[in-house]
Symmetry: C2
Subunit: 643 residues, 2 copies
């Protein structure tokens, strides 16, 4: 195919591109070769070929000079790039967007604190410091840094509502993210596939939904896994609080109908009149701020009821006013519990105990956080890539900051990001205004939260998480690639029967097993062909690279089919783009197998970098690059074949 093209046009080969570097290559010659030094395409990345020591030295030099370059500064502190150009339009756009998000994040922060099992003020403590830090380090204007339902669920499943552990988890995962970013480990999210991510998110949404029934209906939802929680709910169902349930369910209904307001179109699609545009914007704003509207409404209702002496709802109750103290998180704790005998048991948890109880969460949380945030960034990036490593650093630093103000994890959630984008955000500065609003709420509004019924907060979470259930992805997955349902369903089921942080790892492991299987079991096309001079031969075409897990299998298939006849065997290596030492060893065994049987064996169209690998071990390799030469060799006419 390549040769067809070069006959019709003038190819400008810029070479294989990896890591963005370009290499100029020669145009492939054709003919018969047994040596690879004078051969087609070359190693894609010449850097990899270099001596190890030189590479390390250069890397050190590069790193040293990079650290002080302007480009690096812009990369590490993106604010340096956009702040000098900041103008009045940016200010207005960001202010409106920041306040809109602020009105969303305050009720959500309170509600998400309920998921983590902490007191509600910690939800607000998580909502401002991260915003300020993201302004400095964040790469995307569309990220509203703050608590998310999934981060809250993971926090609860790992720290189990223990305040000291929660804050330590926030700090440590933040530090790990910074480290991962510096070590350029952002590529790790590539290993979380679409199906696994969908399965995990759906399971998380079900778990969050179920856990909120505790406040929505006031039933018991004890248990670690979804199954246990539902058993507990069924057992406790007759103790349901009908008042709270009625309020909760009607709150959900209200929120869902207000959500529709954000899609309402007033007047024609194009060429709206100005009053139409204004009206639509007002309706959109009310719809977007539905959580805040609900909280205000039910808060007023609760206040009225309590004033009139009617205590029919479970209220949020006292939320301490004021900003949290800025302090270093604790690395160990002493807990006092009452033993069954009534004695006071003093338990000391050291730093090592704490770390081991946080366990896999320390890796899963940064991964999920990056997954959430990069999904958000890419949604609004118009194809521009997301700098995963800088985002890791930014979100990591934000969470270190949040830990010092005693909050729990914050990421960049897709839903609030969409609000931010739709509100006309212009730069990362919007986060600053959101942070100010939250601090304002902490300083002056906390007494008002007293009268908000808990069922309403649960309704906020429920009406947000039901859209996280990704059942819609099943149909296209079925149409596109059915086997991808296996890792998806695997992750979903694992997240439901195991703690979610383990569940997602199980999903990733299933997916990696697929990659390994694909590396281990290539497909071989087997054809009996006839050359123009009437000589029949067996053509075997492996469809991918030959590496250690597959090469023994390929040798067995080739031997099995070659034994059946005495025809010469030609192995079409067009699709073999890589090989390793184990492959070279097995190929030399294959050559010996054929020599023992006195059967001819030729390698057709072997790429030079693969030929180099094989020739490190094999002297008897006969490589042919051309159909005519192949036919001559088969007819025994070509004497220029070096054996």
């Amino acid at each position: 195919m390549r040769s067809q093209k070069s006959s019709t046009d003038t190819p400008t080969l810029e070479g294989y591109d990896n890591y963005g570097s370009e290499v100029t290559l020669d145009i492939p010659p054709s003919g018969l070769y047994t040596s690879s030094s004078d051969c087609i395409v070359d190693e894609a990345n010449p850097k990899a070929e270099r001596n190890c020591c030189t590479a390390t030295n250069e890397w050190l030099k590069d790193t040293a000079s990079n650290v002080f370059r302007k480009k690096t500064l812009y990369k590490r502190l993106p604010i340096c790039e956009w702040l000098p150009k900041y103008n009045q339009n940016d200010f207005i756009g960001d202010l409106v967007a920041g306040i809109t998000v602020g009105l969303t994040v305050i009720p959500q922060g309170l509600a998400f604190a309920g998921i983590t099992g902490l007191e509600l003020q910690y939800g607000l403590y998580s909502c401002f410091m991260g915003c300020f830090i993201y302004v400095l380090f964040g790469t995307s204007k569309d990220v509203p840094l703050g608590p998310t339902a999934i981060a809250a669920l993971l926090t609860f499943q790992i720290a189990r509502g223990d305040l000291v552990k929660t804050i330590l988890l926030t700090l440590l995962t933040g530090l790990i993210e910074v480290l991962m970013g510096i070590l350029k480990m952002g590529f790790l999210i590539d290993f979380v596939s679409g199906p696994v991510s969908a399965g995990f998110t759906s399971a998380a949404s079900l778990i969050i939904f179920t856990s909120q029934l505790k406040d929505l209906l006031v039933v018991d939802t004890k248990g670690d896994t979804l199954v246990h929680m539902w058993i507990s709910i069924c057992k406790d169902f007759r103790n349901i609080s009908w008042n709270d349930a009625a309020l909760g369910i009607s709150s959900v209904a209200l929120l869902l109908s207000m959500r529709v307001m954000t899609f309402v179109e007033i007047g024609p699609k194009e060429g709206k009149k100005s009053w139409q545009r204004l009206l639509q914007k007002a309706i959109w704003l009310i719809g977007t701020s539905r959580n805040a509207v609900l909280v205000v409404l039910v808060g007023l209702l609760g206040y009225q009821l309590l004033q009139s002496g009617t205590d029919i709802f479970r209220m949020v109750g006292y939320v301490p006013a004021g900003l949290p103290a800025f302090k270093v998180p604790a690395f160990s704790q002493i807990t006092y519990t009452n033993a069954t005998g009534g004695e006071l048991v003093v338990m000391e948890e050291t730093f090592v105990d704490m770390i081991s109880s946080l366990g896999a969460g320390l890796i899963v949380i940064p991964l999920v956080s990056l997954l959430e945030t990069s999904a958000l960034i890419q949604t609004f990036a118009d194809g521009k890539p997301c700098d995963a490593n800088q985002e890791l650093i930014a979100i990591g630093l934000c969470n270190v900051g949040i830990a010092f103000t005693q909050g729990f994890r914050g990421n960049g959630p897709l839903a609030r990001g969409a609000v931010l984008n739709a509100s006309g955000v212009r730069t990362q500065m919007s986060n600053f205004y959101t942070g100010i609003i939250v601090m304002f709420a902490l300083l002056y509004f906390t007494p008002a939260f007293y009268y908000v019924p808990k069922a309403a907060l649960a309704a906020i979470i429920v009406s947000a998480t039901i859209f996280m259930l990704q059942y819609r992805v099943i149909k296209p997955m079925w149409r596109s690639k059915r086997t991808d349902l296996i890792p998806g369903l695997g992750a979903f089921i694992a997240c439901i029967v195991l703690p979610v942080q383990i569940g997602i790892l199980v999903g990733i492991a299933i997916n990696i097993a697929f990659i390994l299987y694909s590396a281990a079991r290539p497909k071989l096309r087997i054809e009996t062909l006839e050359a123009s001079n009437g000589i029949k031969y067996l053509m075997l075409t492996p469809d991918r690279c030959l590496i250690f897990p597959s090469v023994e299998f390929v040798r067995n298939v080739i031997n099995k089919h070659s034994r059946k006849s005495t025809l010469p065997v030609v192995i079409d290596c067009t699709y073999i783009y890589g090989a390793d030492f184990t492959a070279a060893k097995v190929i030399s065994m294959l050559i010996k197998d054929f020599q023992t049987r006195n059967q001819q064996l030729y390698f057709y169209n072997l790429q030079s970098r693969v030929a180099q690998v094989f020739e490190g071990l094999n002297k008897g390799l006969i490589v042919i690059y051309d159909v005519e030469h192949l036919e001559m060799v088969l007819a025994g006419k070509a004497n220029d074949v070096k054996p």
Copy 2:
């Protein structure tokens, strides 16, 4: 390339072959397609496409009918196939080979018991029951089942010389092997590459060599890792026993020079006279039985010295006579140790404690055992594949048997296998004769072992293990594929600084990381081409399948290069042999990216199975299978392109 061939000859496409099943395919048409239903190559394995339920039912049916078939019986009990044809020649060949191996395995069994940290008779206990069972279930005539240096080392590193644990380890790993064989998990050895295997073997040889210095020089070799052992040796070096060292080193010298005898050629290569042939065979036999010869020689020497009252060597001492009791291994144990205060401490180890202390060894030992045995089988199989699953079952059952006679692990070692093959073995029956010889030795020869100096046994191990150091593999690896040195060296270093069973897992993990990296970072060729009608376009050619870890990377590279110009972009999909749902999703994002930029995007030569995956999600996919059509489309002349 495929089309070039079909023009010159009549292809009989037998289709992609996977799992040995052949599929008849249509000949690829060429032209312009946007739908994949009427397209070239099809899914290789139609079974995989089937409904899940049907597949399970059929599997159950297949399994049920398979169990009672003759072929299955022959597969599971290979003796049924070869025993009916057993004749006198087979008997003589096997008898000679079996006795030759018996003379090798008796001194080796005693010596390897020294590696495991058990008393020496346990070495002989490991040498007969496995032989008998292998006769029934083994697939290869070249496997002399019995203790190996590597199995003994792993046993020591896992069970630490605890007899109950050692026997339990033998039993459990045997059962796990049987289970793995039934579940067809023999493919797992494919994931141990040549370099990792070489690194592991070399490290093991160094460790075994070092541990034997304890008996060879009589110095202290305390410590878990090689470094600690050498520190201990250096500290204790002045306490060296010069008598034992002299005997040990001269024994090694004797064994190495006798080893040369096995290569001696008497007379011409072809057409030897009968006395020359006889002489050569006698020399070869003496050389091969060098271990037994040494033991007899030093035994006589020791006996003479002790009789004359000269006690200058450390002797093996009392070895209990008679066969071991046949009994069920213990699943728990109670140990009594003296605490520092002098009190007697009673420790009970339950089954769970034992299992958790055996840990990773329960998986690594079966893997290494299969690795050793299949390497041996393939060396003498002339290209016939090794039935890894049946070998797992056979070796597993052998070790279950060995556990009941209180022995430690046995595998099929390459060195003794070579002796067996060279002695003219004809069937698996040779193992039977070896087993009888060992039982004979246990019944009648044990008093003689009293006088064998320990240094001689150490010499036997040392002179065997120095050939396991695979330094020769480095040069071809360097010539063939340098990066393969990384997993090789990684496994070597990990096995030296960590317990070997963990070290080999580290090596495998490094290798798997390579596969994952290769899956995650394909190479892209970027070319600016000019069609015959003068239209320039950008041709991007990814070199392998598009799956979740790579597809985001590919999208970024494509976007990066496409943004630089407004040229139409053609993605050459010739080499994309597979894709998944995540890829389909990202491709639809890519199509949107191009629509936003108003840039043309075409997919060239997309394989139908990949097209199916993409089309599950993308309506706007334009696929072209022909250069002329591509040029027409670029010129805007082809209206038959469905958008």
